[in-house]
């Protein structure tokens, strides 16, 4: 008799389980989906989001700490102008891994993250932010 009950229980569990699974899959047909259509809608970045780096040349003192702390050595110090001994960082975005150490260690806070993530180029050199580009990264964003 217990054997019969066992079989009955097994059959019940199979049928009930199958119906539950089908119900779970059907339920979501009628729920709002959490996804968005990417190019027409975009997500909001949070405040701390680490996008492409930008340098404020009014604040930069040219100390070169950012170039020293960069683990990938993708920041290079170059003369600000010809004949001017002041230095300013240039950034190779190809090698940058957005770790944010340079931002953490910059004494005057001259280098900071923007929310720009779409920087594209046809050549590798397009991703090298020379001193003209590095001070206004926002304009480089691909729209």
């Amino acid at each position: 008799m217990s054997r019969v009950r066992e079989i009955f229980n097994a059959v019940y569990r199979i049928i009930y389980g199958s119906l539950l699974a089908t119900y779970a899959a059907t339920k979501y047909l009628f729920l709002r989906r959490p996804t968005i259509e990417y190019p027409t809608q975009t997500i909001q970045f949070t405040e701390r989001y680490r996008g492409a780096l930008e340098v404020d040349d009014n604040l930069c003192v040219g100390c070169g700490i950012c170039a020293k702390v960069c683990p990938n050595t993708c920041i290079f110090m170059v003369p600000y102008e010809k004949g001017n001994p002041a230095m300013i960082p240039e950034i190779d975005l190809q090698h940058c891994m957005y770790c944010g150490l340079c931002v953490d260690y910059c004494p005057p806070g001259a280098i900071y993250h923007t929310h720009v993530v779409k920087i594209v180029g046809f050549k590798r050199s397009d991703l090298y932010l020379s001193q003209e580009k590095v001070t206004n990264v926002q304009e480089l964003e691909y729209k």
Binding site: R13, A21, A25, T46, R48, C99
Partner: protein, 373 residues
């Protein structure tokens, strides 16, 4: 994909067939090659080939300063990056005997447990895809994304966080963090019942996974397994409880265990772990004290050797760091749990069916970043 030297129809031994599962295969979760010899559908031998994304992180660490290294280590496992940063930071703190502010410890717990949920969600997702249910894949990614949103709010990045610092964490909690966490946890929690309906209560899923025994507890210990796989064999072992670090000894949580070490048990253990992690995060938010979150110190560890362990979502993440007194580590040894699990595949696959191989890989939940390092 197909082994050129020995195609099926030209094989000398006509009864067996050698199949390369990988390096490019939908179910290996990354570039990994498993050479399986099958007879009919039964596996009679297997060999694992690794190293397709070996980046030499251990060597890289020897060439970087201590403060630069944590931002590399979250690349080890890109679905549970927080743990891998934490392990290194903890090892350095042990060498330096550095005290960590209590608020930082709680923040670390929050970050780690959120990452554990996110990592287990990826496990559900990829396991679903492995056994042929792509609905689970989508659901796992959906719920993980909510958790990742919170982690982005906290650390500023979605996968490669760079949140841990020696002596604390990098940022304090942002404004409105508690509400955000609670909302995300509720979102994940509301879907957990449906995961169960689709998996551990689904008769087809049970039939598929319940009879694949990975190992019993003695064999698992012999092979050096840790984490959910060891817990699935019925051994109640969790580093958070056995070797408490951070503030885990004051937190109330259960350690779920399986019964027989089957694939179904590993799944069950992970679902329960997600529930426990949610519980831990809720407690942590309530009990987090105010105070400093970072203790800055000069990173010149004294000469010495240090070993730190963190209960990763896959097992014991361990770092052995040898310091010689310079600002760079002399040697960093990374102990990856998934490496141990994947390399024990040849010991557990014999006699299983070919279709079981994918369920086993899914249950092991390999992360090739940490395996190949």
């Amino acid at each position: 994909m197909v082994n050129d030297q020995q195609t099926s129809l030209e094989s000398k031994d006509i009864r067996t067939l050698t199949i390369n599962v990988g390096p490019q295969h939908p179910s290996t979760h990354g570039p990994m090659d498993i050479v399986v010899t099958i007879e009919g559908e039964t596996i009679i031998g297997a060999d694992v080939k690794l190293g397709y994304i070996h980046r030499g992180i251990e060597k890289l660490c020897e060439l970087r300063n201590f403060f630069q290294i944590p931002v590399y280590l979250n690349r080890l496992c890109y679905v549970s990056g927080m743990f891998w940063e934490y392990g290194f930071v903890k090892a350095v703190e042990e060498i330096m005997n550095q005290k960590v502010p209590e608020r930082a410890e709680w923040l670390r717990v929050i970050a780690c447990e959120l990452t554990r949920i996110a990592s287990h969600m990826i496990f559900f997702a990829s396991f679903g895809a492995d056994v042929g249910n792509l609905t689970l894949y989508s659901w796992g990614i959906r719920d993980r994304d909510r958790i990742i949103d919170v982690l982005e709010l906290l650390s500023g990045q979605r996968m490669t966080f760079g949140y841990f610092r020696v002596g604390g964490v990098r940022y304090d909690v942002p404004v409105g963090f508690e509400d955000n966490i609670e909302k995300s946890l509720r979102y994940v929690e509301s879907h957990l019942r449906d995961y169960e309906r689709l998996t551990v209560e689904n008769p087809v899923f049970i039939a598929r996974t319940e009879n694949i025994i990975l190992a019993d507890s003695s064999k698992a210990l012999e092979l050096g397994w840790t984490g959910p796989l060891l817990r699935a064999t019925g051994l109640k072992r969790d580093l958070r409880r056995d070797e408490p670090y951070a503030v885990y000894d004051t937190i109330d949580f259960e350690i779920p265990t399986g019964k027989r070490g089957s694939v179904l048990d590993t799944f069950y253990v992970r679902i329960e772990e997600v529930k426990e992690s949610i519980k831990i995060v809720r407690q942590a938010i309530k009990r987090i004290p105010s105070g400093p979150f970072q203790h800055r110190a000069l990173l010149y560890p004294p000469p010495g050797i240090g070993y730190a362990h963190v209960e990763d979502s896959r097992g014991e993440c361990g770092y052995m760091i040898v310091s010689d007194g310079s600002p760079k580590p002399y040697r960093v040894k990374i102990r990856s749990p998934a490496y141990v699990h994947v390399m024990s595949l040849p010991y557990i696959l014999k006699g299983l069916k070919l279709a079981d191989l994918y369920a086993v890989i899914g249950a092991i939940d390999p992360c090739l970043g940490e395996i190949d390092r």
